[in-house]
Amino acid sequence: MSPVPFLAKAGHRVLVRLVFVASLLLLWECAARFWVDPMFLSPPSRVFGHLDVLLARPGVLEAYGELLAELLIAFVVSVALGLLLGLAVGLVKSTRERMMPIVLLLYGTPQITILPIVMLAAGVGFGSKVIFGITHGVFPVLLSVSSSLQKVRPIYHVSARAFGATPWQKFRYILLPCMLPSFFSSLRLSMIACLLGVLLAELFASTKGIGFFTRQFTDTFDSTSLFGLISVAVVLAITLNASLAWMQARWAKRQWT
Protein backbone atom coordinates (compact mmCIF):
# COMPACT_ATOMS: atom_id res chain seq x y z
CA MET A 1 0.00 0.00 0.00
CA SER A 2 1.17 3.53 -0.58
CA PRO A 3 2.50 5.44 2.38
CA VAL A 4 -0.05 8.17 1.91
CA PRO A 5 -3.36 7.69 0.01
CA PHE A 6 -2.59 10.77 -2.06
CA LEU A 7 0.37 9.00 -3.59
CA ALA A 8 -1.62 6.02 -4.83
CA LYS A 9 -2.82 7.61 -8.02
CA ALA A 10 -0.82 7.07 -11.18
CA GLY A 11 -0.42 10.76 -11.92
CA HIS A 12 0.97 11.28 -8.49
CA ARG A 13 3.45 8.48 -8.99
CA VAL A 14 4.85 10.51 -11.87
CA LEU A 15 5.32 13.34 -9.39
CA VAL A 16 7.27 11.09 -7.07
CA ARG A 17 9.53 10.07 -9.91
CA LEU A 18 10.16 13.68 -10.84
CA VAL A 19 10.92 14.55 -7.24
CA PHE A 20 13.29 11.60 -7.08
CA VAL A 21 15.15 12.63 -10.22
CA ALA A 22 15.25 16.25 -9.02
CA SER A 23 16.78 15.22 -5.72
CA LEU A 24 19.42 13.20 -7.56
CA LEU A 25 20.29 16.30 -9.56
CA LEU A 26 20.45 18.26 -6.34
CA LEU A 27 22.78 15.68 -4.86
CA TRP A 28 24.95 15.92 -7.96
CA GLU A 29 24.99 19.70 -7.64
CA CYS A 30 26.04 19.68 -4.01
CA ALA A 31 28.64 16.96 -4.50
CA ALA A 32 30.20 18.84 -7.41
CA ARG A 33 30.24 22.18 -5.62
CA PHE A 34 31.29 21.22 -2.12
CA TRP A 35 32.72 17.74 -1.90
CA VAL A 36 34.55 16.75 -5.06
CA ASP A 37 37.38 18.37 -7.01
CA PRO A 38 35.80 20.40 -9.85
CA MET A 39 38.24 18.81 -12.25
CA PHE A 40 36.40 15.53 -11.89
CA LEU A 41 32.82 16.45 -11.24
CA SER A 42 31.04 19.40 -12.73
CA PRO A 43 27.72 20.54 -11.23
CA PRO A 44 24.58 20.27 -13.40
CA SER A 45 24.01 23.99 -13.26
CA ARG A 46 27.32 24.65 -14.93
CA VAL A 47 27.01 21.69 -17.31
CA PHE A 48 23.61 22.72 -18.64
CA GLY A 49 24.60 26.38 -18.71
CA HIS A 50 27.59 25.47 -20.79
CA LEU A 51 25.63 23.42 -23.32
CA ASP A 52 25.20 26.18 -25.86
CA VAL A 53 28.96 26.73 -25.94
CA LEU A 54 29.54 23.03 -26.27
CA LEU A 55 27.15 22.59 -29.16
CA ALA A 56 28.56 25.64 -30.92
CA ARG A 57 32.01 24.13 -30.81
CA PRO A 58 33.14 23.15 -34.33
CA GLY A 59 32.50 19.49 -35.05
CA VAL A 60 30.27 18.67 -32.11
CA LEU A 61 26.94 19.00 -33.89
CA GLU A 62 28.35 17.09 -36.85
CA ALA A 63 29.45 14.37 -34.48
CA TYR A 64 25.91 13.97 -33.17
CA GLY A 65 24.55 14.08 -36.68
CA GLU A 66 26.86 11.31 -37.72
CA LEU A 67 25.96 9.28 -34.67
CA LEU A 68 22.28 9.56 -35.46
CA ALA A 69 22.82 8.71 -39.11
CA GLU A 70 24.92 5.68 -38.25
CA LEU A 71 22.33 4.57 -35.75
CA LEU A 72 19.35 4.93 -38.03
CA ILE A 73 20.96 3.13 -40.95
CA ALA A 74 22.19 0.34 -38.67
CA PHE A 75 18.71 0.06 -37.17
CA VAL A 76 16.86 -0.19 -40.47
CA VAL A 77 19.29 -2.79 -41.83
CA SER A 78 19.24 -4.76 -38.56
CA VAL A 79 15.47 -4.94 -38.53
CA ALA A 80 15.21 -5.96 -42.17
CA LEU A 81 17.98 -8.53 -41.86
CA GLY A 82 16.72 -9.82 -38.54
CA LEU A 83 13.22 -10.21 -39.94
CA LEU A 84 14.40 -12.10 -43.02
CA LEU A 85 16.71 -14.39 -41.10
CA GLY A 86 14.13 -14.86 -38.37
CA LEU A 87 11.54 -15.93 -40.91
CA ALA A 88 14.00 -18.31 -42.55
CA VAL A 89 14.95 -19.87 -39.25
CA GLY A 90 11.48 -19.87 -37.73
CA LEU A 91 9.44 -21.17 -40.64
CA VAL A 92 11.51 -23.98 -42.02
CA LYS A 93 12.21 -26.77 -39.56
CA SER A 94 15.44 -27.94 -41.19
CA THR A 95 16.85 -24.41 -41.29
CA ARG A 96 15.95 -23.91 -37.67
CA GLU A 97 17.67 -27.06 -36.51
CA ARG A 98 20.81 -26.21 -38.40
CA MET A 99 20.94 -22.44 -37.98
CA MET A 100 19.76 -21.90 -34.42
CA PRO A 101 22.81 -23.49 -32.74
CA ILE A 102 25.00 -21.30 -34.94
CA VAL A 103 22.99 -18.17 -34.17
CA LEU A 104 23.24 -18.89 -30.47
CA LEU A 105 26.97 -19.52 -30.79
CA LEU A 106 27.46 -16.15 -32.49
CA TYR A 107 25.21 -14.44 -30.00
CA GLY A 108 27.30 -15.79 -27.14
CA THR A 109 30.61 -14.53 -28.55
CA PRO A 110 31.83 -11.21 -27.13
CA GLN A 111 31.62 -8.92 -30.15
CA ILE A 112 33.97 -6.33 -28.67
CA THR A 113 36.88 -8.68 -29.35
CA ILE A 114 36.38 -8.45 -33.09
CA LEU A 115 35.91 -4.68 -33.14
CA PRO A 116 39.57 -4.08 -34.08
CA ILE A 117 39.17 -6.48 -37.00
CA VAL A 118 36.06 -4.69 -38.22
CA MET A 119 37.92 -1.40 -37.99
CA LEU A 120 40.85 -2.80 -39.93
CA ALA A 121 38.54 -4.11 -42.61
CA ALA A 122 36.11 -1.23 -42.93
CA GLY A 123 38.25 1.67 -41.78
CA VAL A 124 37.63 4.03 -38.88
CA GLY A 125 34.82 5.93 -40.53
CA PHE A 126 31.10 5.71 -40.99
CA GLY A 127 30.98 2.19 -42.43
CA SER A 128 32.58 0.28 -39.59
CA LYS A 129 30.30 1.92 -37.04
CA VAL A 130 27.22 1.01 -39.03
CA ILE A 131 28.47 -2.55 -39.42
CA PHE A 132 29.16 -2.89 -35.72
CA GLY A 133 25.71 -1.50 -34.98
CA ILE A 134 24.13 -4.05 -37.31
CA THR A 135 25.97 -7.01 -35.77
CA HIS A 136 24.50 -5.99 -32.41
CA GLY A 137 21.03 -4.99 -33.52
CA VAL A 138 20.20 -7.97 -35.69
CA PHE A 139 20.00 -10.47 -32.85
CA PRO A 140 16.98 -9.21 -30.87
CA VAL A 141 14.84 -9.21 -34.02
CA LEU A 142 16.14 -12.54 -35.30
CA LEU A 143 15.67 -14.29 -31.98
CA SER A 144 12.25 -12.82 -31.34
CA VAL A 145 10.82 -13.60 -34.77
CA SER A 146 12.16 -17.17 -34.87
CA SER A 147 11.10 -17.79 -31.29
CA SER A 148 7.54 -16.56 -31.74
CA LEU A 149 7.15 -18.59 -34.92
CA GLN A 150 8.31 -21.66 -33.06
CA LYS A 151 5.87 -21.04 -30.25
CA VAL A 152 2.75 -21.04 -32.40
CA ARG A 153 0.30 -23.34 -30.65
CA PRO A 154 0.03 -26.78 -32.26
CA ILE A 155 -3.74 -26.45 -32.51
CA TYR A 156 -3.27 -23.61 -35.02
CA HIS A 157 -1.05 -25.79 -37.19
CA VAL A 158 -3.67 -28.53 -37.02
CA SER A 159 -6.47 -26.09 -37.86
CA ALA A 160 -4.56 -24.89 -40.92
CA ARG A 161 -4.30 -28.46 -42.20
CA ALA A 162 -7.86 -29.35 -41.29
CA PHE A 163 -9.26 -26.35 -43.13
CA GLY A 164 -7.07 -26.92 -46.17
CA ALA A 165 -5.05 -23.70 -46.00
CA THR A 166 -2.27 -23.24 -48.55
CA PRO A 167 1.21 -22.40 -47.16
CA TRP A 168 0.75 -18.74 -48.10
CA GLN A 169 -2.70 -18.60 -46.50
CA LYS A 170 -1.31 -20.22 -43.39
CA PHE A 171 1.46 -17.63 -43.19
CA ARG A 172 -0.76 -14.64 -43.84
CA TYR A 173 -3.70 -15.54 -41.59
CA ILE A 174 -2.07 -17.53 -38.81
CA LEU A 175 1.72 -17.22 -38.55
CA LEU A 176 1.96 -13.49 -39.25
CA PRO A 177 -0.54 -12.41 -36.55
CA CYS A 178 1.25 -14.71 -34.10
CA MET A 179 4.60 -13.16 -34.91
CA LEU A 180 3.79 -9.46 -35.02
CA PRO A 181 3.44 -8.58 -31.32
CA SER A 182 6.88 -9.80 -30.33
CA PHE A 183 8.36 -8.38 -33.54
CA PHE A 184 7.27 -4.91 -32.48
CA SER A 185 8.66 -5.45 -28.98
CA SER A 186 11.97 -6.51 -30.42
CA LEU A 187 12.28 -3.22 -32.33
CA ARG A 188 12.97 -1.34 -29.14
CA LEU A 189 15.58 -3.85 -27.99
CA SER A 190 17.17 -3.79 -31.41
CA MET A 191 17.48 0.00 -31.28
CA ILE A 192 19.23 -0.19 -27.91
CA ALA A 193 21.57 -2.88 -29.21
CA CYS A 194 22.36 -0.87 -32.35
CA LEU A 195 23.14 2.16 -30.21
CA LEU A 196 25.45 0.07 -28.08
CA GLY A 197 27.30 -1.23 -31.10
CA VAL A 198 27.61 2.18 -32.70
CA LEU A 199 28.79 3.76 -29.44
CA LEU A 200 31.40 1.07 -28.85
CA ALA A 201 32.79 1.68 -32.31
CA GLU A 202 32.66 5.45 -31.85
CA LEU A 203 34.48 5.35 -28.54
CA PHE A 204 37.12 2.95 -29.81
CA ALA A 205 37.91 4.92 -32.94
CA SER A 206 38.74 8.22 -31.42
CA THR A 207 39.95 10.09 -34.46
CA LYS A 208 36.59 11.60 -35.37
CA GLY A 209 33.11 12.04 -34.02
CA ILE A 210 31.90 11.51 -30.51
CA GLY A 211 34.88 9.34 -29.59
CA PHE A 212 37.25 12.15 -30.55
CA PHE A 213 35.54 14.62 -28.29
CA THR A 214 35.26 12.28 -25.33
CA ARG A 215 38.96 11.60 -25.54
CA GLN A 216 39.77 15.26 -25.92
CA PHE A 217 37.66 16.31 -22.93
CA THR A 218 39.03 13.47 -20.83
CA ASP A 219 42.63 14.30 -21.67
CA THR A 220 42.12 17.98 -20.87
CA PHE A 221 40.10 17.23 -17.74
CA ASP A 222 37.28 19.35 -19.15
CA SER A 223 34.61 17.71 -17.00
CA THR A 224 31.98 20.31 -17.84
CA SER A 225 32.12 19.64 -21.55
CA LEU A 226 32.39 15.90 -21.02
CA PHE A 227 29.31 15.78 -18.82
CA GLY A 228 27.50 17.97 -21.33
CA LEU A 229 28.45 15.73 -24.23
CA ILE A 230 27.27 12.64 -22.43
CA SER A 231 24.07 14.24 -21.16
CA VAL A 232 22.97 15.14 -24.68
CA ALA A 233 23.66 11.58 -25.80
CA VAL A 234 21.72 10.21 -22.82
CA VAL A 235 18.72 12.39 -23.62
CA LEU A 236 18.92 11.22 -27.22
CA ALA A 237 18.93 7.58 -26.15
CA ILE A 238 16.03 8.05 -23.76
CA THR A 239 13.97 9.89 -26.37
CA LEU A 240 14.52 7.20 -28.99
CA ASN A 241 13.65 4.50 -26.49
CA ALA A 242 10.52 6.31 -25.33
CA SER A 243 9.24 6.81 -28.87
CA LEU A 244 9.74 3.16 -29.73
CA ALA A 245 8.10 2.15 -26.46
CA TRP A 246 5.15 4.34 -27.36
CA MET A 247 4.91 2.75 -30.80
CA GLN A 248 5.19 -0.67 -29.20
CA ALA A 249 2.34 0.09 -26.82
CA ARG A 250 0.16 1.12 -29.73
CA TRP A 251 0.90 -1.72 -32.11
CA ALA A 252 2.34 -4.64 -30.19
CA LYS A 253 -0.84 -5.34 -28.25
CA ARG A 254 -0.53 -8.84 -26.86
CA GLN A 255 1.03 -12.20 -27.42
CA TRP A 256 -1.20 -14.68 -29.18
CA THR A 257 0.66 -17.83 -28.15
Binding site: I155, A160, F163, G164, A165, Y173
Partner: protein, 294 residues
Amino acid sequence: MSKVFVVNPLDTAIEVKGVSHSFEAAQGPRAQSGAELLALSTTDLEVRRGELLSLIGPSGCGKSTLLNMIGGLLLPSSGEVRVNGVKVTAPMPKTVSFVFQENALFPWNTILDNIVVALTFQNVPAKDRVELAHQALGAVGLTEFAHYYPDQLSGGMRQRAALARALSLKTDIILMDEPFAALDEQTRMVLGEDLSTLLNQTGKTIVLVTHSLGEAVFLSDRIAVISARPGRVLEVIEVNEPHPRDPQFVTSSKFSDLRNRLYALLHDEIRQTLSTQAMANKALKTLGGSPPHG
Protein backbone atom coordinates in the same frame (compact mmCIF):
# COMPACT_ATOMS: atom_id res chain seq x y z
CA MET B 1 -40.56 -31.24 -34.64
CA SER B 2 -39.75 -34.66 -36.04
CA LYS B 3 -36.58 -35.64 -37.79
CA VAL B 4 -36.06 -34.23 -41.25
CA PHE B 5 -34.98 -37.58 -42.60
CA VAL B 6 -34.52 -41.10 -41.27
CA VAL B 7 -31.10 -42.62 -41.18
CA ASN B 8 -30.69 -45.44 -43.66
CA PRO B 9 -28.49 -48.17 -42.10
CA LEU B 10 -27.26 -49.15 -45.53
CA ASP B 11 -26.14 -45.66 -46.54
CA THR B 12 -22.57 -45.51 -45.25
CA ALA B 13 -20.86 -42.14 -45.17
CA ILE B 14 -17.66 -43.29 -43.49
CA GLU B 15 -16.10 -46.72 -43.61
CA VAL B 16 -13.24 -47.69 -41.31
CA LYS B 17 -11.71 -51.04 -42.30
CA GLY B 18 -8.94 -52.80 -40.44
CA VAL B 19 -7.48 -49.49 -39.28
CA SER B 20 -4.78 -49.33 -36.65
CA HIS B 21 -2.25 -46.73 -35.64
CA SER B 22 1.19 -46.88 -34.05
CA PHE B 23 3.22 -43.89 -32.99
CA GLU B 24 6.99 -44.16 -33.05
CA ALA B 25 7.82 -43.63 -29.39
CA ALA B 26 10.38 -40.81 -29.73
CA GLN B 27 10.19 -40.20 -26.04
CA GLY B 28 9.00 -42.16 -23.07
CA PRO B 29 9.94 -45.34 -21.23
CA ARG B 30 10.31 -47.38 -24.40
CA ALA B 31 12.85 -44.92 -25.81
CA GLN B 32 14.72 -47.07 -28.24
CA SER B 33 14.52 -45.79 -31.78
CA GLY B 34 12.05 -47.77 -33.81
CA ALA B 35 9.99 -48.83 -30.82
CA GLU B 36 6.32 -48.26 -31.46
CA LEU B 37 3.41 -47.28 -29.31
CA LEU B 38 0.23 -48.90 -30.54
CA ALA B 39 -2.41 -46.25 -30.07
CA LEU B 40 -5.27 -48.01 -31.78
CA SER B 41 -5.47 -51.68 -32.61
CA THR B 42 -7.23 -53.01 -35.68
CA THR B 43 -10.64 -51.43 -35.83
CA ASP B 44 -13.67 -51.66 -38.05
CA LEU B 45 -16.46 -49.15 -37.93
CA GLU B 46 -19.20 -47.73 -40.09
CA VAL B 47 -20.81 -44.35 -39.80
CA ARG B 48 -24.23 -44.02 -41.42
CA ARG B 49 -25.15 -40.92 -43.34
CA GLY B 50 -27.08 -38.41 -41.25
CA GLU B 51 -26.40 -40.04 -37.90
CA LEU B 52 -24.52 -38.81 -34.88
CA LEU B 53 -22.06 -41.45 -33.76
CA SER B 54 -20.14 -41.01 -30.50
CA LEU B 55 -16.77 -42.50 -29.74
CA ILE B 56 -16.37 -43.02 -26.03
CA GLY B 57 -13.61 -44.65 -24.03
CA PRO B 58 -11.01 -44.03 -21.30
CA SER B 59 -8.16 -41.50 -21.69
CA GLY B 60 -5.52 -42.53 -24.18
CA CYS B 61 -7.65 -45.26 -25.75
CA GLY B 62 -7.13 -43.86 -29.22
CA LYS B 63 -10.53 -42.32 -29.93
CA SER B 64 -9.02 -38.97 -30.93
CA THR B 65 -6.48 -40.85 -33.04
CA LEU B 66 -9.34 -42.62 -34.80
CA LEU B 67 -11.12 -39.32 -35.37
CA ASN B 68 -7.98 -37.75 -36.80
CA MET B 69 -7.59 -40.68 -39.18
CA ILE B 70 -11.16 -40.33 -40.35
CA GLY B 71 -10.49 -36.67 -41.01
CA GLY B 72 -7.23 -37.27 -42.84
CA LEU B 73 -5.01 -35.55 -40.27
CA LEU B 74 -3.26 -38.85 -39.58
CA LEU B 75 -2.59 -41.77 -41.85
CA PRO B 76 -3.46 -45.26 -40.61
CA SER B 77 -0.60 -47.69 -40.02
CA SER B 78 -2.80 -50.41 -41.49
CA GLY B 79 -6.17 -50.62 -43.17
CA GLU B 80 -7.99 -47.72 -44.76
CA VAL B 81 -10.69 -45.15 -44.20
CA ARG B 82 -13.19 -44.33 -46.90
CA VAL B 83 -15.36 -41.25 -46.88
CA ASN B 84 -18.21 -41.28 -49.43
CA GLY B 85 -16.47 -44.23 -51.01
CA VAL B 86 -13.20 -42.36 -51.52
CA LYS B 87 -10.05 -43.42 -49.71
CA VAL B 88 -8.80 -40.83 -47.21
CA THR B 89 -5.19 -39.71 -47.61
CA ALA B 90 -5.34 -36.06 -46.53
CA PRO B 91 -7.79 -33.57 -44.98
CA MET B 92 -10.82 -32.96 -47.20
CA PRO B 93 -11.93 -29.46 -46.27
CA LYS B 94 -14.89 -29.53 -48.66
CA THR B 95 -16.27 -32.74 -47.21
CA VAL B 96 -15.15 -32.89 -43.60
CA SER B 97 -14.90 -30.05 -41.10
CA PHE B 98 -13.63 -30.10 -37.52
CA VAL B 99 -14.58 -28.75 -34.13
CA PHE B 100 -11.72 -29.09 -31.65
CA GLN B 101 -11.74 -29.16 -27.88
CA GLU B 102 -9.16 -26.54 -27.23
CA ASN B 103 -9.77 -23.03 -28.16
CA ALA B 104 -8.89 -23.32 -31.81
CA LEU B 105 -10.43 -20.02 -32.79
CA PHE B 106 -7.80 -17.48 -33.77
CA PRO B 107 -7.59 -14.95 -30.93
CA TRP B 108 -6.42 -12.15 -33.24
CA ASN B 109 -9.66 -12.23 -35.27
CA THR B 110 -13.23 -11.46 -34.31
CA ILE B 111 -15.49 -14.49 -34.47
CA LEU B 112 -16.89 -13.21 -37.72
CA ASP B 113 -13.41 -12.90 -39.20
CA ASN B 114 -12.56 -16.34 -37.88
CA ILE B 115 -15.31 -17.77 -40.08
CA VAL B 116 -14.33 -15.57 -43.01
CA VAL B 117 -10.76 -16.88 -42.78
CA ALA B 118 -11.98 -20.49 -42.73
CA LEU B 119 -14.04 -19.77 -45.85
CA THR B 120 -10.92 -18.22 -47.41
CA PHE B 121 -9.02 -21.43 -46.75
CA GLN B 122 -11.79 -23.31 -48.49
CA ASN B 123 -11.45 -20.94 -51.46
CA VAL B 124 -15.01 -19.71 -51.29
CA PRO B 125 -15.36 -16.64 -53.57
CA ALA B 126 -14.49 -13.45 -51.69
CA LYS B 127 -17.81 -11.75 -52.33
CA ASP B 128 -19.77 -14.50 -50.57
CA ARG B 129 -17.63 -14.90 -47.48
CA VAL B 130 -19.01 -12.26 -45.15
CA GLU B 131 -22.61 -13.15 -45.95
CA LEU B 132 -22.04 -16.85 -45.30
CA ALA B 133 -20.21 -16.04 -42.07
CA HIS B 134 -23.14 -13.98 -40.82
CA GLN B 135 -25.53 -16.80 -41.70
CA ALA B 136 -23.46 -19.29 -39.75
CA LEU B 137 -23.36 -17.06 -36.70
CA GLY B 138 -27.10 -16.59 -36.98
CA ALA B 139 -27.64 -20.34 -36.95
CA VAL B 140 -25.95 -20.61 -33.55
CA GLY B 141 -27.50 -17.45 -32.15
CA LEU B 142 -24.36 -15.31 -32.03
CA THR B 143 -25.33 -12.57 -34.50
CA GLU B 144 -24.90 -9.68 -32.05
CA PHE B 145 -21.43 -10.89 -31.12
CA ALA B 146 -20.02 -11.00 -34.62
CA HIS B 147 -17.42 -8.32 -33.90
CA TYR B 148 -16.32 -9.68 -30.54
CA TYR B 149 -12.96 -11.31 -30.03
CA PRO B 150 -12.90 -14.89 -28.69
CA ASP B 151 -11.41 -13.90 -25.36
CA GLN B 152 -14.27 -11.49 -24.81
CA LEU B 153 -16.76 -14.36 -24.95
CA SER B 154 -17.58 -17.12 -22.51
CA GLY B 155 -16.38 -20.69 -23.12
CA GLY B 156 -19.81 -21.78 -24.27
CA MET B 157 -20.08 -18.96 -26.75
CA ARG B 158 -16.61 -19.70 -28.08
CA GLN B 159 -17.52 -23.28 -28.78
CA ARG B 160 -20.71 -22.11 -30.43
CA ALA B 161 -18.59 -19.90 -32.65
CA ALA B 162 -16.30 -22.86 -33.39
CA LEU B 163 -19.36 -24.84 -34.36
CA ALA B 164 -20.57 -21.98 -36.54
CA ARG B 165 -17.21 -22.02 -38.27
CA ALA B 166 -17.57 -25.73 -39.03
CA LEU B 167 -21.15 -25.26 -40.22
CA SER B 168 -20.25 -22.37 -42.50
CA LEU B 169 -18.05 -24.64 -44.56
CA LYS B 170 -21.15 -26.56 -45.56
CA THR B 171 -19.52 -29.94 -45.34
CA ASP B 172 -21.57 -33.15 -45.17
CA ILE B 173 -19.53 -34.46 -42.29
CA ILE B 174 -18.46 -32.78 -39.05
CA LEU B 175 -15.89 -34.35 -36.73
CA MET B 176 -15.91 -33.13 -33.13
CA ASP B 177 -13.11 -33.88 -30.70
CA GLU B 178 -14.49 -33.41 -27.17
CA PRO B 179 -15.96 -30.03 -28.11
CA PHE B 180 -17.59 -29.46 -24.73
CA ALA B 181 -14.88 -30.89 -22.47
CA ALA B 182 -13.59 -27.50 -21.31
CA LEU B 183 -17.06 -26.25 -20.35
CA ASP B 184 -18.90 -26.51 -17.08
CA GLU B 185 -21.69 -29.04 -16.86
CA GLN B 186 -24.58 -26.59 -17.03
CA THR B 187 -23.27 -25.00 -20.21
CA ARG B 188 -22.70 -28.47 -21.64
CA MET B 189 -26.31 -29.40 -21.06
CA VAL B 190 -27.62 -26.35 -22.84
CA LEU B 191 -25.19 -26.61 -25.73
CA GLY B 192 -26.00 -30.29 -26.08
CA GLU B 193 -29.68 -29.49 -26.47
CA ASP B 194 -28.93 -26.78 -29.01
CA LEU B 195 -26.66 -29.11 -30.95
CA SER B 196 -29.35 -31.72 -31.11
CA THR B 197 -31.88 -29.22 -32.49
CA LEU B 198 -29.41 -27.80 -34.98
CA LEU B 199 -28.30 -31.12 -36.34
CA ASN B 200 -31.83 -32.27 -36.75
CA GLN B 201 -32.36 -29.34 -39.07
CA THR B 202 -29.24 -29.81 -41.13
CA GLY B 203 -29.02 -33.60 -41.51
CA LYS B 204 -25.26 -33.74 -41.32
CA THR B 205 -23.20 -36.78 -40.38
CA ILE B 206 -21.43 -36.25 -37.08
CA VAL B 207 -18.71 -38.22 -35.34
CA LEU B 208 -18.24 -37.00 -31.79
CA VAL B 209 -15.49 -37.96 -29.38
CA THR B 210 -16.53 -37.59 -25.77
CA HIS B 211 -15.66 -38.58 -22.25
CA SER B 212 -19.09 -37.94 -20.90
CA LEU B 213 -21.46 -40.89 -20.67
CA GLY B 214 -24.53 -38.69 -20.37
CA GLU B 215 -23.53 -36.59 -23.33
CA ALA B 216 -22.98 -39.68 -25.46
CA VAL B 217 -26.41 -41.08 -24.65
CA PHE B 218 -28.19 -37.74 -25.02
CA LEU B 219 -26.74 -36.75 -28.36
CA SER B 220 -26.01 -39.96 -30.23
CA ASP B 221 -27.88 -42.23 -32.57
CA ARG B 222 -25.20 -44.84 -31.90
CA ILE B 223 -22.34 -45.09 -29.47
CA ALA B 224 -19.07 -46.91 -30.21
CA VAL B 225 -17.40 -47.99 -26.98
CA ILE B 226 -13.59 -48.16 -27.22
CA SER B 227 -11.44 -50.23 -24.87
CA ALA B 228 -8.32 -49.07 -23.03
CA ARG B 229 -5.11 -48.55 -25.02
CA PRO B 230 -4.52 -50.00 -27.51
CA GLY B 231 -8.16 -49.33 -28.26
CA ARG B 232 -10.57 -51.46 -30.19
CA VAL B 233 -14.33 -51.28 -30.56
CA LEU B 234 -15.88 -53.24 -27.70
CA GLU B 235 -19.48 -52.68 -28.69
CA VAL B 236 -21.71 -50.34 -30.67
CA ILE B 237 -24.85 -49.38 -28.78
CA GLU B 238 -28.02 -48.19 -30.52
CA VAL B 239 -29.96 -45.33 -29.01
CA ASN B 240 -33.36 -45.50 -30.61
CA GLU B 241 -34.71 -42.09 -29.83
CA PRO B 242 -35.94 -39.49 -32.32
CA HIS B 243 -34.21 -36.14 -32.81
CA PRO B 244 -34.43 -33.43 -31.64
CA ARG B 245 -33.95 -34.93 -28.20
CA ASP B 246 -36.31 -33.67 -25.54
CA PRO B 247 -34.53 -32.43 -22.41
CA GLN B 248 -36.84 -34.74 -20.48
CA PHE B 249 -35.14 -37.69 -22.15
CA VAL B 250 -32.39 -37.37 -19.59
CA THR B 251 -34.77 -38.28 -16.78
CA SER B 252 -36.25 -41.32 -18.54
CA SER B 253 -35.50 -44.90 -17.54
CA LYS B 254 -34.36 -45.62 -21.08
CA PHE B 255 -31.63 -43.02 -20.63
CA SER B 256 -30.54 -44.51 -17.30
CA ASP B 257 -30.43 -48.01 -18.72
CA LEU B 258 -28.27 -46.94 -21.61
CA ARG B 259 -26.01 -44.93 -19.36
CA ASN B 260 -25.63 -47.86 -16.98
CA ARG B 261 -24.85 -50.15 -19.85
CA LEU B 262 -22.10 -47.79 -20.96
CA TYR B 263 -20.71 -47.55 -17.47
CA ALA B 264 -20.63 -51.32 -17.05
CA LEU B 265 -18.70 -51.65 -20.31
CA LEU B 266 -16.25 -48.89 -19.47
CA HIS B 267 -15.69 -49.35 -15.77
CA ASP B 268 -12.87 -51.85 -15.90
CA GLU B 269 -11.29 -50.14 -18.89
CA ILE B 270 -11.14 -46.87 -16.98
CA ARG B 271 -9.62 -48.42 -13.87
CA GLN B 272 -7.01 -50.17 -15.95
CA THR B 273 -6.14 -46.94 -17.76
CA LEU B 274 -5.78 -44.95 -14.56
CA SER B 275 -3.19 -47.22 -13.04
CA THR B 276 -1.11 -47.69 -16.21
CA GLN B 277 -1.26 -43.95 -16.85
CA ALA B 278 0.08 -43.10 -13.40
CA MET B 279 2.98 -45.50 -13.86
CA ALA B 280 3.74 -44.14 -17.32
CA ASN B 281 3.63 -40.54 -16.10
CA LYS B 282 6.06 -41.31 -13.35
CA ALA B 283 8.46 -42.99 -15.75
CA LEU B 284 8.19 -40.08 -18.16
CA LYS B 285 8.83 -37.50 -15.48
CA THR B 286 12.13 -39.13 -14.59
CA LEU B 287 13.16 -38.84 -18.21
CA GLY B 288 11.96 -35.26 -18.57
CA GLY B 289 9.15 -35.98 -21.05
CA SER B 290 5.44 -35.27 -21.02
CA PRO B 291 2.52 -37.65 -21.29
CA PRO B 292 1.07 -38.18 -24.77
CA HIS B 293 -2.55 -37.28 -25.32
CA GLY B 294 -5.22 -39.86 -25.98
